[in-house]
């Protein structure tokens, strides 16, 4: 019954799931970290540092296998039986999906400090050199002729932060009036010529394909783009208000127990909160939680007003149902004209 259901859903995944991954390093432990799109560089660094640290402390060799992709799709891959001992995704709703399938306890988010989010980020603007369109804050994005690149929040759950940041700004600017927020966000998406499927492909569309005047990007992704292409190509603009993105991490307990890596998985995630890892996090342009590290990198992360998903939107469940479900506010933008 269950296998039939899997076949019905995603035949390919089910078939792949039948073959357990072969050959984990002799004597060592393999840990599968299933992550979202823009964390490649971050976890490449973290995994190396963790492996070295863990070897010294426990004598155990750990090889972390990282996979990246759209957050929602990554969660689904675990759900249908794919590898994944820890999930480090873009938003809590995607890990809730796994909790719904009893792969980890429902109260997972209280298991680790800081809402299980060892780093935060926010949504900022990336503009072309010299800021030719004079973009300073959200209202500038809907000026005539301005083209905004942002991924589709329906196909990229990470892009939901972008959408909610805009909505949150408009709510605040319009005295919490829902109708004004709706009108602003609808106008904003009328300025979006291309809806990419994920954060990374939107970055590529903006930077390499030369599309649009502004990229709505995760702060870390904006810095990364600037680092790769040079500060003489792109500039980061920090809006007056944005959203506090808290990408959560959790041990997928069922899988970790099955793979016999429950302890390592837990240690791996706790390691993210150590000053050493927090440094790596800050160097990879995510905002660290550790006060000392944050102070050290204060110049890199300008202060701005950050709304939280709980205060501004009543939590992910509610935000999800109102904005991104079929027929939600996002669908209405495109289906009304």
């Amino acid at each position: 019954m269950i296998s039939l259901r899997l076949l019905a859903v995603v035949p390919l995944l089910a078939v792949l799931g039948l073959f357990p991954s072969c050959g984990s390093g002799a004597g060592g432990v393999t840990l599968y970290n299933v992550s979202y799109d823009p964390t490649r560089e971050l976890y490449a660094d973290i995994d190396q540092a963790f492996a070295a640290d863990y070897k010294i402390k426990t004598g155990i060799d750990v090889a972390v296998q990282l996979s990246n992709g759209g957050s929602g799709r990554q969660a689904r891959n675990i759900l249908v039986g794919g590898q994944g001992d820890v999930a480090t995704l873009a938003l809590a709703a995607d890990i809730d999906l796994l909790a719904g399938a009893k792969l980890l306890p429902a109260d997972w988010q209280s298991r680790l400090p800081e809402n299980s989010a060892p780093y935060t980020s926010t949504i900022v603007f990336l503009v072309r050199h010299g800021n030719p369109r004079g973009i300073a804050d959200w209202p500038d994005l809907v000026k005539p002729g301005v083209a905004v690149i942002t991924p589709d929040p329906k196909s990229s759950s990470g892009a939901r932060w972008n959408y909610l940041a805009a909505w949150g700004y408009a709510l605040q600017a319009g005295n919490q009036e829902e109708a004004k927020a709706r009108a602003f966000v609808a106008e904003l998406y009328r300025h979006v010529p291309i809806l990419d499927t994920g954060a990374r492909s939107a970055t590529i569309t903006f930077t390499q394909r030369n599309q649009g005047d502004v990229l709505l990007a995760w702060e870390n992704e904006a810095h990364l783009a600037q680092k790769e292409f040079g500060a003489d190509k792109f500039e980061i603009v920090i809006p007056s208000v944005s959203i506090l993105a808290e990408p959560p991490v959790a041990v997928v307990e069922e899988n970790a127990r099955r793979d016999g890596v429950a302890k390592v998985a837990e240690d791996y995630l706790r390691y993210l909160y150590t000053p050493e890892a927090q440094e790596i996090i800050a160097r990879n342009f995510y905002r660290p939680r550790d006060a000392q590290v944050a102070a050290k990198y204060a110049a890199q992360f300008p202060a701005l007003k950050l709304l939280t998903i709980d205060d501004a939107f009543g939590g992910w469940k509610k935000a999800q149902a109102t904005h991104f479900a079929d027929g939600g506010t996002f669908d209405q933008i495109y289906k009304k004209h």
């Binding site: 039939l4 259901r5 076949l7 019905a8 859903v9 995603v10 035949p11 759209g70 929602g72 799709r73 689904r76 999906l97 589709d152 329906k154 196909s155 990229s156 759950s157 979006v192 010529p193 291309i194 809806l195 990419d196 499927t197 492909s201 390499q208 394909r209 030369n210 599309q211 991104f324 479900a325 079929d326 669908d331 495109y334 289906k335 004209h337």
Partner: protein
């Protein structure tokens, strides 16, 4: 009871194998699709079917696929004709190139085409590049810029690219089998060149052309990887149905996703059945010697 034995040995074995293989590869997955979409309550099912976004995406998907298959039928015919009829140096090399779109991962094709046709790409900014190369004034060759990325033209190019080999590969053997004497006879009986083509050659290869057409069409309808990178993916505008399905999967709306899959399956099946009927009819005409 006396069993009727076929002259050809191995019927039981091959038939058993055929049904097992077809079940595993085709019937079970597609049956699962039906089964899963049946779990969607009727009002939701109806709502999913009448969703204007779905109707718009079906128009885009099937419209562009038909256009791509039609263009390939004409241009692919010319390519197949050239390769079969005229010996020229490097013919085998060109012949080998035909299959490349098959071998390339479709995402690679999509990214390549988007890069090429973006407003800063080789072809998307062809005029600008030439101006720079030839030291001409800016904008003088603007008309040469072929900026197709993130437009329907770009999506069409991607579909033409990935479905191109089907037409050429199905037409080649049919063209090679044409007996030159038939054409010679037509010529000696006073047929003009266009008469020989339209009344002798075309009807004879029409079944193969239709096969290639339907394969190319089916391939284009199911395409996701390459289109997604060159399309602007806007709902109600340039979104293909496959992308809508991916979005439903991303939102964990599996029953809705399978329902959309089912719609594509039914529409594709109907269109392929129509093409096959046409093909059967044209084959019969050829066999009956109506030409």
């Amino acid at each position: 009871m006396k069993k009727h034995r076929s002259i050809l040995p191995g019927f039981g074995l091959t038939m058993g194998y055929t049904s097992l293989y077809l079940s595993l590869i085709v019937i079970i997955p597609l049956g699962g699709l039906f089964w899963k979409s049946a779990t969607l309550p009727w009002p939701d099912f109806k709502q999913a079917l009448t969703d204007p976004e779905l109707l718009s995406s079906l128009k885009v998907t099937f419209g562009l696929s038909l256009a791509a298959a039609t263009i390939n039928a004409v241009l692919g015919f010319i390519v197949a004709w050239t390769l079969v009829r005229y010996p020229f140096p490097g013919r085998r090399l060109v012949d080998g190139l035909i299959d490349l779109p098959f071998a390339l991962p479709t995402a690679v094709s999509g990214i390549t085409l988007a890069t090429l046709y973006a407003n800063n790409g080789w072809l998307g900014n062809l005029g600008g590049n030439l101006e720079h190369l030839l030291h001409l004034s800016t904008g003088s060759l603007r008309l040469l810029n072929f900026t197709a990325a993130y437009t329907k033209i770009g999506m069409l190019l991607a579909l033409i690219f990935i479905s191109f080999p089907f037409i050429v590969r199905t037409l080649q053997p049919a063209l090679a089998d044409l007996d030159p004497e038939v054409e010679e006879a037509a010529a000696s009986l006073g047929a003009s060149r266009s008469q020989s083509f339209f009344r002798i050659i075309l009807p004879a290869v029409l079944p193969a052309l239709l096969t290639g057409f339907s394969l190319a069409f089916a391939r284009a309808v199911g395409e996701y990887g390459s289109v997604i990178f060159i399309s602007s993916n806007k709902p109600m505008d340039s979104e293909i149905t496959a992308h809508m399905i991916m979005k439903e999967v991303e939102n964990n709306q599996i029953a809705r996703a399978t329902t959309l899959g089912l719609v594509m399956l039914v529409v594709s099946f109907a269109m392929l059945a129509a093409i096959n009927t046409l093909q059967w009819w044209s084959t019969r005409r050829v066999k009956a010697g109506a030409v």
